[in-house]
Every structure is written in C-alpha cells, then in structure tokens.
C-alpha cells in the first residue's frame, strides 16, 4: 500500500515562524516521500533524516522517520558515517547555507568529492536566521545585516557553482513556494545513486524577507525570470515561452526566438546526464537580472558511489582472505610457541 503525505508527519508541533519558507519545503518533502518510498520499494523505517544546526535543521523532528538533529555543520559527516555503516537505509540531510557552506563547508565539499549516496536538501535563505540575522556565505555582496552594518565585503558562494565545480553528480534547484517543482526534484534526487543536492531558495520572513523576490515573488515574475529545465526540452522561458538560452561563443546568452535571426533550433536542449560540467556550471551561474535563474534538475550523472565501493572492497577481500574470524587473525603471521 502506498504511503500518503500524512504517514511522514510526526506528532511534533512545527515551530518555524509563520510564513517561513521552511513550511513549504517540509510540505514538499512530505509530499515527495510516498513516491520516493514506492519507487525504491522502501518501508518508512528505512528513511533517516540527519541535520546540523539552524532553522532548517529542526527538520528531522517533523518527519515520522528515523532522525538525528546533530551539531552545527556536521550533518554531512554524520550522514556519511551512517550511510557507509548502514547502506541499506536512505539518508536525507536537511541543512542550510550557514550549516553546509560555512561551518560545515569542509564536510560538504568532501561529501561531494566522495559521491556518497546522500540526499541533501540545502535551504538557502542567504542569512543566519536562528542566531537572528547575521550574513551568511550566500548573502549578496554589500548586504547590510547585524554583523555587516556597512554592508558585506565578502563575495557570496553560488552553491550550484561550488557543487558542480567540485564535480558533484547531482544538483537541482527550486524555490520554496514552488512546492511541486521541489517535490519533483526530490524524487529525482532520491533516485540518483550518489550525492545529490537540491538547493531550495527559501525566504526568511523575519531577517531576509524578499531575498529572492526579484525573480521569485509571484507567478508572473517567476515566468519571466526563471527557467525550469527539463531533459530533452528546449531551454525556453517567459510568459509566452519565447525567450531561450543559446550558446554564443563560450558564453550563454538570452535571445528571443524569431528575433535577431535566432530560431528555435539555436536554443539549447537540456541534458542533465552530460558528464562534462561546462554547460551545467554555466546554467547554475545564471543570475538575475541578466539571465533567468535556472531551476529543476541541472545535473544528474552516474559515477561510482563511495558506499558501494566500500561494500565492493569488503566483499572482494572477504572472498579472497583465509582469515574468517579473530582467532584466525590472532594466530596468523609470525608466531612462536613456548613449550
């Protein structure tokens, strides 16, 4: 029998601020889980949600699965150990821009490098919410916050560029209010055998309200300023789907189909399975206002996973070795007997 969204709701009262983007993300995850479970043939007890610290990291308490709310920045490291030790479970990580890109940056890039099969949901609100409004590694340059009263002087990370630059195998992006798009991304992410990151551009109503509003505030704005990528489909956007992305020399360029000699044939067709990173990186880099912000599954390529490789080595060595138990090991090699 297929699970329903309600099967993944815990009995805990959800304590995020009213209007917080996190509510939408929780909704999307709980909506995705019945499909994820069905596709993978999994029982609810085979899911674990691991988190670090921050508003987003309260997530595990609201999911009726196994959950581990850990310490700041370490969710990816804890999830790595869990997955290697217990590869039978499906592990999700709920984390934020501070948790995974600042204090936990090291674990984040190394989890990408190892391509361990975890599903990261990266809540990006470009601010520290739980500590009440300090700038984060994704805050826009010049952003005025409590710890940058004269504006930040640090260039922000674009998580997509970081992930694809580190040869990440799966990267998707969504917006908190686009619940169904987030759900679709998460279902794809869960099917990806390897490290997946779904970045959700999330609004913090208290400390960074409207951070993504320029391109995300309503349906009409999103139609004009975002591009939802679909495999095998042309990269078209705009209310009339008449604007497209073409390759102009080494760069992407926005054109209007039928203008300046551009036809539909010139518009790029999305292929998330392309092993090289160049176009995926260029897509992840697209910034408002010159470009639409790319959404959907940008990159989804297959590479060996760390957890499978560990299991493979263990199986291979076990088959070859004569040592089957501790007594065998203790008595192996150089020994001598005293009569």
């Amino acid at each position: 029998m297929k699970y329903t969204q309600a099967d993944f709701k815990s009995d805990q009262e959800v304590k995020w601020c009213p209007g917080c983007g996190d509510h939408f993300i929780l909704n999307a995850v709980q909506k995705a889980m019945p499909d994820v479970a069905e596709i993978a043939g999994r029982n609810r007890s085979e899911f674990v949600v691991v988190s670090g610290i921050g508003c987003s990291s309260r997530f595990p308490y609201y999911m009726k699965t196994y959950g581990f709310h850990s310490i700041h920045g370490r969710a990816n490291a804890i999830a790595t150990g869990l997955k290697v030790a217990n590869p039978g479970v499906s592990v999700f990580v709920a984390t934020g821009d501070g948790d995974s890109l600042a204090i936990g940056g090291n674990h984040f890039i190394h989890a990408i490098r190892r391509n361990i099969d975890l599903n990261v949901v990266l809540f990006n609100n470009e601010i520290y919410g739980l500590t009440k409004g300090q700038y984060s590694p994704t805050s826009k340059l010049g952003k005025i916050t409590k710890t940058s009263p004269y504006g930040t002087i640090e260039k922000p990370f674009n998580p997509g560029e970081l992930i694809i630059g580190a040869k990440g195998t799966f990267f998707a992006r969504s917006i908190d209010v686009e619940v169904d798009l987030t759900r679709q991304c998460l279902v794809r992410a869960a099917q990806h055998d390897g490290f997946s990151i779904t970045e959700v551009l999330q609004n913090c109503v208290i400390f960074n309200d409207g951070a993504h509003a320029a391109f995300a505030k309503d349906k009409a704005t999103r139609a004009e300023h975002t591009l939802v990528l679909k495999d095998g489909e042309k990269m078209l956007f705009g209310a009339n789907k008449d604007k497209g992305i073409v390759l102009d020399g080494f760069r992407l360029k926005v054109v209007t189909v039928g203008k300046d000699g551009y036809t539909i044939d010139d518009v790029l067709t999305h292929d998330s399975k392309e092993p090289t990173t160049y176009i995926h990186n260029a897509l992840a880099s697209m910034k408002y206002p010159d470009f639409p912000v790319a959404l959907g599954v940008i990159r989804d390529v297959d590479e060996p996973t760390y957890n499978n490789e560990v299991a493979r080595q263990v199986a291979e060595v076990q088959e070859k070795s004569k040592i089957k138990c501790m007594d065998d090991l203790l008595n192996s090699g150089e020994t001598w007997t005293i009569e």
Partner: protein, 614 residues
C-alpha cells in the same frame, strides 16, 4: 672466544632517520622473541621524516631490551649502542651505561660528518668524554660496498644496505640465528626487487662474518630464553593491539566495526591497521578532518555499528563538541587518544600523559564520559575490548587513553583465544515491546542504558539529537526539571559502570610504608622498580589504575593502609589532582616528568628510596 651468559641486555640502534634503524631494531627484537627471550622495545624517532642528514635532529633510534625473564620496560640505559654516524653517537651518549659497548661506523669519522653532528673538535670521543668506553669503529659503509661490489646496484642502493651489516654484527654478538631476518627480507623485498633482497641478505651475512672472523669482540653473549607461560606467542605493538581489541569487541557483540579517523601521529597506525581488515568486515573512512572522523563514527553508531575513532591530543580537542553530542545522544562510541607531548602540536613523536584532564572534563556542559587507560603494548587489546564492551552495553561514549610509548613499543604477547573473552550484549531493540504504544528512545534498563534502535527497524522510528531530551520520549525539552533529571541521569549512568568493572588491586603487600600510584602506560617502569625494591625487602607496593572514570571500587581501603602515597605520572600532576578531588582524606606526594620520555627505573628508585627514608 668466550660465551658469557647474561640475564638481560639493552641495545639501542641509532642512525639517520633514513638509515632503516626501526627495521633493524624490529628484526633484532623479533629474532630474540622467536628465540624465546622476553622483550620490550621503544622506538624513538624524530617528527621530521628526513631531517637534514647527519645532524642530531635527524637521529632515529630503536631500543630493544631482551632477557631471560619477562621484560617490563625497554630499559633505561643501553649496554650496546649502534651508531651509524657521529650524530647518532652524540644524540645517545646520555643513554649509555658506564661500561657500554659502542659500535660506530668508522667510515663516518670524517671531518664533514663530525662537523655536521655539531662537534667542535675533530675528536668526538674525547669531546663526549667517552674515550675509556669499549668503542669499536668497524668501517661499516666500506665493508658494505665491498660486499656488494659485484651486485650491479647503484651506490645509493648499496649504502642503504649498511643497516644490515650492523644487524649482522649484533646477531653474532648475541648468538642469534640469521634465519628470521633473512626470511623477512626475502618476503618483503624478494618479489618486487630480488636484487635488493639478496644484497641485504649478503650484507647481513657479511656483518655476521665480520663479527665471527675478526677478533674485535672478546666475548659473545648468550641470553637464555625466558621462563614465560607456556603457549603460542606473537609480538605486538600497542596500536595494532588497540585495533585488534576493537575488532574483537565487534566480533563478540555482533556489531560491525566502523572507524572514522584522520591521520595523526602517533595514532595513525590504528587507522592503518583497521583499514587492512576488510576480511572481517571492518569499514574505515579516512575523514577530511578530526571532526569528521568522530562525526562519521557517531553516524555509524546511530546506524548500528560499533564505532570508534582514533586520535592524539590536538585531535581530541577538535573532537570535543562531537563527544558532547555522543554523550547527550547516548550512543556507543570509543575515542582512543594516543597521548603525545603537548600543548598544541607539542612533541608529536614523544610520549606524555597530559591529556587526562582533557579526557575527563574537556567538554561543554555537564558531560561525563567513561575513561580507561591501557598500560602496556599488549594490554591495549584488553582495554580496547573493554572500552567497546562498556560503550555498547552502557550506551555511552568511552575515551581510551594510550600513549606514544606503549603505542609504538612492542612486546611478546601470549595469543588469547576468543572463547576466553566474554560476549558483549548491546541493548538492541528489534520490535516495539508489549505495553509500549510508541517507542520511547530514552527509556532505560538497570544499567541506565537506553535502548539501541537501529534505523531500518520497522516501527521504532524515533528522533535524537543534541538538544536536551525529554527523559522518556527523546523529544526536545526545555523543561527545567527535566534538564536537572537528565544531567543527573547521565552522570549516574557513567558512575554505575563501577558496578561492572573489577575492583582496584594492589601489587605487593596490602599495607606498608610506601604506595606507588600510577595509571596507564607507566606501569612497566613502575612495576619493574617496585618489584626490584620488594626483592630488596623494602616496603613498597604498586597500585596502578586502568579504569579512570569511574574509579574502581576499593581504592580508599588500599590507600588507607600505607603511610605514604606517591602518584607518578608523565605530566604535572593531573591524576594526583583527580585523586585529591575524589579522596580528600589522603596526602599525595607526586613524582612528575614532562620530557617527552618514559620514566627510568633508576630515577623512580631514587625517588622511592628518598620517600622511604624521609
């Protein structure tokens, strides 16, 4: 030629850190062990992999103490010093016995080598004031070259074999066969590079024959096999024994072993050793940093593995926050800290016991952990096993303290049988018990341990984390009384471990003038000293601790029966302070040393005699 019989001998092999002294020493000690001698070894090497050649800072040493009884220490001072250059002589002159034999490569007594070692004159022997010692200066380098003149090897490869010449001399001098060294060399290099293997064998023989043919040595010496307990033995060092102890605990608990760790001297060998043993299902992750080392292990513990992480002092500091998480999440975990000289980077390759207070208290909040300390290379196996047993049965993180001295030192070890080790019963729960409507992750058993519900188990979905927990449900609780209760419960759980460990014992008479108190890796030196003084009829006993937190039962009774108590440790008095805190009624004398070196039995004996006479 006379063959003199000796009870025990200390040899120190010493040369440039690239001269292969660790291998030379190991081959000698293994040969002695195979022959049946008692052995104890102590590698003493610099932090730099290859410090400038020929300088004192680049000297690497390996000391072997072998004898016709069980050897408790690698010996304070050496009977024989093998010095491959003047720098090695200079670095080790303080470790010579008064009548020591020195074998120095005569080819290195050139101006350049002497100057590089920092001598002011051209006569290092005079300068060091050792002219009247028994000094031999065979031309080891040129005899090695001569032996290999037809080998076809280049000069660099030829010179690399000279350590085998020195080994050959020593094997001759102590009447030991060459076969173990030869089979080791062939096994190690034979396949990859048979020419190099045969060159080493040839030089080994040449060294042996040099000893036999020349009349440089008035005597050779024989050291009879030790009267050790009957059985099958192997040689083992502390780090390997620690790794194997963890593997044994894994086998006895049925929980797969996981180790997340980051390389750090002198603990790295534990990770290296565990990485080898995939045949027994061991999984290792070489993490991106110390924090990830412990955090991957905490994740693995949550996932149902027996999880361990290995580190040394600075790494223990980095792991502090995550240890707190393991405490509040009440997950089984063993953190092994192979202590080295501190603070900060300190003395990475040298031994010390100065992480005790960090292990006991170095975390935020009221954060008690079980602390154990191993006391010899081979008992690292036992205490690693015990650490795993306590961690899993009591659902608590445990710190196991070893140190650079016992981690790198090796000794013969009577191979245990796994049937003599107890089963380990972690409180794993596989289904919702009758009468419980929902799983209560913080419900406890008689040990106060909570139950281990492993993700994947149907019906036991639950959430844990670093926020204070409700005493039963495990959900977040900010209730003041609940916090008080949880703080007290976590402390009581650790204190309760005392009911499950052996009572404290004393070595020697149960009452008397002086009680020597030690903990961890100093046991060999303390025991050797105390036993010697006991044989001389002195009223000295030893009370040595392996269980630090909680302390075993029976300590007060032991302490109360001695007129004086002296606490000896390789720090400035951390355990003494801990005892003062726990047992205020006693007066504690202290003997402390922070030189990056183990105690010597000579200095201990002097101190104990002084206390007896005072």
């Amino acid at each position: 030629m006379n063959v003199k019989e000796l009870k025990d001998v200390v040899i120190r092999f010493s040369g440039d850190s690239g001269d292969g002294m660790q291998l030379t020493g190991t081959l000698f000690s293994d040969t002695a062990a195979l022959f049946g001698n008692g052995i104890s070894t102590f590698p003493d090497y610099p932090a730099e992999i290859r410090a400038p050649q020929g300088t004192v800072s680049g000297v690497s040493g390996f000391q072997v103490h072998f004898g016709s009884s069980r050897m408790l220490t690698p010996g304070d001072y050496c009977d024989v010093l093998i010095a491959m250059n003047p720098a090695a002589l200079k670095a080790n002159v303080v470790w010579l016995k008064k009548d020591a034999t020195i074998i120095l490569d005569g080819d290195t007594l050139d101006e350049k080598s002497i100057a590089r070692a920092g001598f002011k004159t051209n006569d290092p022997l005079e300068e060091l004031g050792i002219k009247d010692y028994n000094i031999l200066t065979p031309d080891i380098t040129s005899m090695t070259k001569e032996a290999l003149k037809d080998s076809g090897l280049d000069n660099k490869a030829v010179v690399k074999c000279k350590n085998m010449f020195a080994l050959g001399i020593c094997l001759y001098l102590y009447d030991k066969p060459l076969d173990h060294a030869i089979s080791y060399i062939r096994g190690k290099f034979g396949k990859k590079n048979p020419a190099v293997a045969e060159a080493n064998v040839k030089v080994l023989n040449a060294g042996y024959n040099f000893g036999a043919n020349t009349h440089s040595f008035a005597n050779t010496y024989s050291v009879q096999p030790a009267e050790l307990e009957k059985g099958k033995y192997r040689s083992i060092n502390g780090n390997v024994a620690t790794a194997w102890g963890f593997m044994a605990a894994s086998e006895k608990s049925g929980r797969p072993l996981f180790c997340g760790s980051y390389p750090i001297t002198p603990a790295t060998v534990i990770l290296e050793e565990l990485a080898k043993h995939k045949e027994l299902g061991v999984k290792t992750v070489q993490a991106e940093d110390e924090i990830a080392g412990i955090c991957t292990s905490i994740g693995a513990a949550f996932g149902g593995s027996f999880a361990v992480t290995s580190t040394s002092g600075p790494g223990l500091s980095l792991k502090s926050e995550a240890m707190g998480l393991a405490v509040i999440a009440e997950l089984p975990l063993v953190v092994v800290d192979v202590q080295r000289g501190g603070p900060s980077t300190g003395l990475p390759t040298k031994t010390e016991q100065s992480d005790l207070k960090q292990a006991l208290w170095g975390r935020n909040g009221e954060c008690p952990m079980v602390v154990l300390a191993a006391s010899s290379p081979s008992d690292c196996f036992h205490y690693a096993f015990q650490a795993g047993k306590i961690a899993m049965e009591h659902m608590t993180p445990v710190i196991l303290l070893t140190d650079g001295f016992i981690a790198n030192g090796s000794q013969p070890w009577k191979i245990p049988s796994m049937k003599d080790y107890p089963e380990i019963h972690p409180p794993i729960i596989t289904e919702l018990p009758e009468g419980e409507e929902v799983f209560l992750p913080y419900k406890r058993d008689e040990k106060l341990a909570r139950r281990w519900a492993i993700p994947g188990t149907v019906g036991l979905e639950h959430r844990i984390g670093g926020l204070e927990k409700d005493a039963l449900k495990g959900s977040v609780s900010h209730d003041p009384k609940n916090h008080q209760k949880m703080v007290e419960t976590r402390a009581a759980k650790v204190a309760k471990v005392a009911d499950y460990i052996p009572s404290q014992t004393v070595l020697g008479a149960e009452e008397g003038e002086l009680l020597v108190v030690g903990w961890g890796g100093t046991r060999g030196h303390l025991q050797a000293t105390v036993e010697k003084m006991q044989e001389e009829g002195k009223s000295v006993s030893l009370c040595h601790f392996n269980y630090i937190n909680p302390l075993p039962k029976g300590v007060e009774e032991i302490f109360s029966k001695f007129k004086k108590i002296v606490v000896c440790e390789l720090n400035e008095g951390q355990f003494a302070d801990y005892l003062r805190m726990n047992f205020q009624q006693f007066h504690y004398e202290q003997y402390n040393k922070c030189q990056g070196l183990p105690f010597t039995t000579v200095e201990l004996e002097a101190k104990f005699n002084e206390l007896l006479e005072k």
